[in-house]
Symmetry: C2
Subunit: 454 residues, 2 copies
């Protein structure tokens, strides 16, 4: 029996649409991180309009009810996993694309709009929305904003923070905050856009996002290269950075992940090498940049192949995007998200190998190499926990490995519940203290996504 039961009832009773069903509550207790809540949330409110969000949050403040905002549920850090005593505010039905302005190259969307749906809609105007998590077809913009999501092309085109021009945010007390502006530049007052982006639902509920779009590149050049092993491919990625071109995509996949992709998709990547680098350059200089890239990796590669056409290129990108679903066929997957200085990728490759040997956990890696962001994926037995035992030890060792190389705990997935234990060593006391004072200032009763992120 939770302390909050009477308060959660009042919030659920006051909603236009709410569910107490076990299915809905079970769904809302998880995400794609492998984390399992010990209890179920008290119920789920389905918001369809900003007014719905306002009235739920007003009730929540009146009754001091903890609220966990939820979108598509594709998070990888248990940032939206709710538990007993909490009400889930599900905004997935708020999924409209409200406006596309091809002249100013921006779009206004509701938080439940899927990343891929936005890209399909703006593609008709010859534009694209840059942040592209591997989960693009199932993740929503609200979650992208909550975690400051990145993706494959963000080294060239920026992460979610760089694409958010303005947000409508409902605060815990129901007031509506408009952050940012529709112009490209602006410096009046503090940067509340950037404060909300990546705050994992702890400061407010985003009900509308104005996003910067970009013209689709006039040309894209794709290269697929194989290397004897992960460390050599990592060296090749560093050589690309050192060659001073700006790839729009530079994705590295290790040998065992290639095997898993081959098994699931019927491809034959692993037979071609022990690690794979997928590199794209784009824009007016795409092919000139490709030439430089190929020269940079040639001394290290066992084979280098240019994609013949768009179809071939799309096939290669799909293999990379499907890495996680392919691994999920092998067991329960817990996905790491460490970042390191770009010149140190080869050292991480070696370190991850050590960690796997020491802990006995199988580690598969895909890497956004052009910004030093690695996703080492732990593949566990279905009955294994991601929050204790060898998986927890391995996650912790991965963090300290990254830290020892001047890196970070999380590049683009966030802290959620999964990584809270390493937040203090990551940030230090003063930093955490400042963040908590900001949280207290904006959400004084601590109602929004309690216990997550900071």
């Amino acid at each position: 029996m939770s302390l909050h039961t009477s308060s959660t009832s009042a919030v659920l009773a006051g909603a236009r649409s709410a569910s107490l069903s076990e299915t809905d509550r079970l769904d809302a207790s998880t995400d794609r991180s492998g984390y399992v809540s010990q209890s179920l949330p008290d119920g789920v409110v389905f918001a369809e309009t900003t007014d719905d969000v306002v009235s739920t949050l007003r009730l929540a403040t009146a009754h001091r009810t903890p609220i966990v905002t939820r979108g598509a549920g594709t998070g990888l850090a248990a940032g939206a996993s709710a538990r007993s005593g909490e009400v889930v505010l599900d905004v997935s039905r708020m999924n409209k694309i409200l406006r596309i302005d091809p002249v100013e190259q921006l779009a206004v969307v509701e938080p439940g709009a899927l990343n891929a749906d936005l890209n399909a809609a703006v593609g008709e105007y010859g534009l694209f929305y840059a942040p592209d998590p591997a989960s693009t077809s199932i993740c929503s913009i609200g979650g992208n904003v909550a975690t400051n999501a990145g993706g494959m092309r963000c080294a060239k085109y920026g992460v979610t923070r760089d694409a958010v021009l303005s947000l409508n945010v409902v605060l815990a007390d129901g007031r509506q905050l408009r952050t940012g502006r529709e112009t490209m530049k602006g410096v009046s007052g503090y940067d509340l856009n950037a404060l909300i982006v990546g705050s994992e639902g702890t400061l407010g509920v985003v009900t509308e996002a104005t996003l910067r779009l970009r013209p689709l590149p006039v040309a894209t050049a794709t290269v697929a290269a194989f290397f004897p092993d992960f460390a050599t491919a990592a060296q090749a990625a560093s050589a690309v950075i050192a060659s001073r071109i700006q790839p729009s995509m530079l994705e590295l996949i290790d040998g065992q992940t290639l095997e898993a992709i081959d098994m699931a998709m019927g491809t034959t990547y692993r037979s071609q090498g022990g690690a794979f680098l997928l590199a794209q350059t784009d824009g007016y200089g795409a092919h000139l940049e490709q030439d430089v890239l190929i020269e940079a990796i040639r001394p290290l590669a066992t084979s280098i192949e240019k994609a013949n056409d768009d179809e071939h290129a799309a096939e290669l990108v799909t293999a990379r995007r499907e890495a996680i679903p392919c691994l999920e066929k092998l067991g329960r997957v817990s996905i790491g998200d460490i970042g390191v200085p770009r010149g140190r990728l080869a050292e991480v490759a070696v370190g991850l190998n050590d960690i796997s040997e020491r802990t006995g956990v199988r580690i598969y890696s895909v890497v956004h190499a052009s910004d030093g962001n690695l996703h080492p994926m732990l593949v566990l037995n279905p009955e294994d926990s991601v929050t204790e035992g060898p998986a927890k030890v391995a996650l912790g060792e991965m963090f300290y490995l990254a830290k020892s190389l001047g890196g970070t705990l999380t590049g683009e997935h966030g802290i959620g519940l999964l990584k809270r234990d390493w937040l203090l060593p990551e940030l230090g006391e003063v930093s955490l203290d400042v963040m908590r004072s900001i949280k207290d200032a904006i959400d004084p009763h601590g109602l929004l996504n309690p216990g997550k992120a900071i």
Copy 2:
């Protein structure tokens, strides 16, 4: 006699190096905005190390002394203009470039380092620091961070916020806060980097900045074009945006500013047209992009000329950079900084004309056209005030013109003291209230740059 006299004395007496001289206090009461404080600050502390900053702020907190941090003094919004009862914390002597890492493409600098000096130093490694205010040779990185400074190439390469990886910040109570990280990506906790950048010295004192560098482009192509008038040149700039290339520079200068440049520099720009557009493209596709750009502006231009060589290109850029000093020969200059959606530049051109006619204030405009950021410069008689009379009316009308077009009060100079009157209509009550609650949380005694920015 100020309320704070005894407290300021204690802070000044406790400093390793301080000045009570009238010259130093007079310097610290102004910047380049034309704003004149009604009184002088009580004294100036010269910090040479982070420890100096820590000890001054500890004393300031103990004695509740208001502190105005100051760098090179080149601000354009009276953000560092101090007055009676305040102590100035001058960090201009902290001007070392502490580290350049060509592999990771980053530099660590002290706040007093000049923007141009940093660019000269990293240029030896084939790198550049992107934000480039027109004042690059005299402005310091600390001030760039405080105002989230932009410049001419930021539409392609980003503003200061996009270049700041990490900061060391001394808080009002003397604690040291490390924001951000050295990796390209990272999402642990709130984005304190972005919160400090642009906060105009109201949240802490930056004593070290880790900055992202970029490889110098392999090629740059420069075009100079003339148009019958400002509105037509603005239309041409919008046509460039619509052509879907990404210029690295797209600077527009109106006819009367050309006249002022000609008078001061002995050039003959005005005789060639009523408005001037300076456009650069760079990188591997520089010349292909230039071809597209020229096609886009051809129907509107009276003449288009490619720069023959680097020297010719540098000459054109210098004319743009020197616009403000040239205007300063004509009178006291007060510089506007409005931003509008990029497709609406021509409407602003017409609106500014109206404002000039109605108020009788001469308005000269230079424009960062690729991000819709205009600097309409009021040229006043030397005895005229920038904070009352026709200048104030004109500044206010400029803001409401920008607002009516979906724009903003300030693109890259900040609010300071000069634009406080329009902050509420710009941001709205909820936004200002949230900002003030953040200020209270981080600087609870309100000691840092009181009355500025928010």
